[in-house]
């Protein structure tokens, strides 16, 4: 529009830089507070660089609460649910895109209609169901009900519709079995969509809160967000330790984000529209 040296563009650039720095202030406040002594948190003027760095704020909570276990639980549950989501979504997406059988469209539309059902509206029956299955405080209870994604099925079906039929037919003529075709031909072709779904699903599960809050009530079965919330309610005034565990909980996600950033943003944008 205007040339790159115009005062307007410089003002715009400076404005955006200031805005972006402001966005980071809460995170810097978190980091700075995480090293302070408890009596230093509210001293004025604000000490952005603490007078001393108390590493105990990081080590002490790890001894008092099973943060490592919570971290493991989150990683394990999110990985397993993601694997299930990718598997069930690609199988169902393939079925809905490339097979014809009575009731196919009805099943597809019923699954798509569940996108309208908020989890918040079914917490009571879901809790009763998981309790009656004997799945409270188990990995099974945390993983299996999170193993299906209507959005994932929709996404995979849309991608598989554009897959050439000739490829599948040719394999059938060569005598390949249906599971073999799915595993060796259909999945590899749709790999980009699968990895977008995997990233989205992992993020979603990693940050999932309400469902694990219902299912995991014992300390050792909590996922990281639930554990963090329980730590918060027990130690709500020990701000340095609270900030320290928040910093620790941020780090893995931020590392993954910085490695995958572009793919990450793409898949969030792609999936967010429908999620």
């Amino acid at each position: 529009m205007t040339n790159s040296r115009s005062p307007l563009r410089i003002a715009l650039f400076v404005g955006i830089v200031i805005q972006t720095v402001l966005m980071m202030v809460p995170l810097f406040y978190m980091l700075s507070t995480s090293f302070k002594a408890q009596n230093e948190v509210f001293t004025l003027p604000i000490q952005w660089i603490p007078s001393q760095f108390l590493i105990e704020n990081y080590t002490q909570p790890l001894q008092e609460k099973p943060f490592l276990r919570w971290f493991f639980n989150s990683t394990f549950v999110a990985t397993a649910s993601t694997a299930l989501v990718v598997l069930t979504s690609s199988l169902a997406g393939y079925s809905f895109a490339k097979f014809r059988y009575p009731g196919r469209n009805l099943l597809f539309w019923i699954i798509i209609a569940t996108l309208m059902i908020p989890l918040e509206a079914m917490i009571v029956p879901l809790f009763v169901l998981v309790r009656d299955l004997g799945w409270l405080n188990t990995y099974t209870g945390l993983i299996i009900p999170a193993g299906g994604s209507a959005f994932g099925i929709f996404l995979m079906r849309q991608h598989m519709l554009s897959m050439p039929d000739e490829l599948i037919e040719a394999a059938r003529i060569d005598g390949a079995s249906e599971p073999y075709i799915f595993w060796r031909i259909v999945l590899p072709i749709n790999q980009p969509a699968l990895s977008a779904l995997a990233i989205f699903s992992f993020m979603w599960n990693w940050n999932s809160f309400l469902y694990p809050l219902l299912v995991a009530s014992t300390d050792e079965m909590r996922t990281l967000p639930i554990g963090l919330a329980s730590f918060e309610s027990a130690y709500s005034t020990n701000y340095p330790q609270l900030m320290a565990v928040s910093v620790l909980a941020c780090i893995p996600v931020l590392i993954v984000f910085f490695i995958l950033q572009n793919r990450f943003i793409e898949s969030m944008a792609l999936t967010g529209v429908k999620g």
């Binding site: 805005q19 978190m30 097979f99 059988y101 908020p118 917490i123 299906g148 249906e178 944008a269």
Partner: protein, 313 residues
């Protein structure tokens, strides 16, 4: 259709004598198709369809998890709609959704427009603005709870400007903003990315044509960008409002719905009614109301955006 037409082009396994006949082959294909869909169908039947039907069913019962449910007709609905707690909750939920997402979308659009120009370091700026999106909501709530502490960062900042410093989390009037402001902070980056994607889909020829006609930057925005971005904006509004109506974590962590219920969103009052007060039937009636509200917005979205036609294509 595809399956049928290709089987006429190529010899089917049946024709090659691998199996008895074409009908058997077709049956087998149908069976495979159904088998592939089966795991997802079972999961959705058990963990989505059954629970939502059960929500409707339980909303007509008195149920405390231990004793068998007692049928009470419409009494749960009568109770929740005549007591102020739930009505206040609906009102606050809407106030939260619109109070958060109108500013979020305006700011996100402004940011997207700015970062869609050739600024130096724009990919870094985009990435940094996206960071709050990837940080888990619990962490965001924990950090902002400290920021809104009586002596926290927000009040330090306000007092340095000589402004009034409320005790955010303990004041009925200010607590809603202590929930809304972190939400705006967390969500801007996400909608920025959605708008950037929309902006990049606008062909540059329009702007070039505009330039030849001598349009100003404002006219280009008003008569080219805005109309062409309209579908994205409409979609973003509806999706964000739906997400806003389902919000749970920030009030759960920061205020537990208080003070005096001033931040008790619908998801939270459902959770508390069910698991703190043990009134499962009443909570289910509230859940039915939440479901109907969300359904209404989803139908509006389908009407405006026509997702149905997209799926058919």
């Amino acid at each position: 259709m595809q399956g049928l037409s290709t089987t006429t082009k190529h010899p089917t396994p049946a024709e090659r004598g691998l199996r008895a006949g074409w009908w058997t082959y077709r049956r087998r294909q149908q069976l495979w198709g159904f088998l592939f869909a089966l795991p997802a169908v079972i999961l959705f039947a058990v963990f989505a369809i059954y629970p939502i039907l059960q929500t409707f069913y339980l909303s007509f019962f008195d149920f405390n998890l231990v004793d068998p449910p007692q049928f009470v007709g419409l009494r749960n609905f009568e109770t929740i709609l005549t007591t102020s707690a739930f009505r206040d909750s609906i009102a606050f939920t809407f106030r939260y959704a619109f109070g958060t997402y109108i500013p979020t979308l305006v700011l996100a659009l402004a940011l997207a427009l700015a970062l869609n120009t050739k600024l130096p370091g724009r990919s870094v700026l985009r990435m940094v603005n996206f960071i709050p999106v990837v940080i888990s909501w619990v962490i965001v709530a924990v950090v902002w709870k400290l920021i809104f502490h009586q002596n926290g960062l927000m009040n330090v900042f306000l007092s340095s400007l000589g402004l009034y410093t409320p005790d955010w989390l303990l004041s009925r009037d200010w607590a809603p903003y202590a929930i809304i402001i972190p939400s705006i902070w967390k969500e801007i980056g996400f909608y920025m990315v959605i708008f950037l994607a929309g902006l990049q889909n606008i062909p540059t020829v329009y702007y070039e044509a505009g330039k030849i006609d001598g349009t100003s930057a404002w006219q280009a925005f008003r008569y080219i960008t805005l109309p062409l971005l309209r579908p994205t904006i409409v979609l973003a509004i509806v999706i964000s409002i739906i997400n806003g109506l389902k919000i749970f974590i920030p009030p759960f962590v920061m205020t537990q719905g208080g003070p005096a219920g001033s931040t008790r969103v619908m998801a939270l009052i459902i959770y508390q009614t069910a698991f703190a007060n043990g009134r499962m039937g009443r909570a289910s009636a509230m859940a039915v109301m939440l479901f109907l509200i969300i359904l209404l917005f989803t139908l509006i979205q389908n009407r405006l955006y026509g997702t149905g036609r997209d799926v058919e294509a």
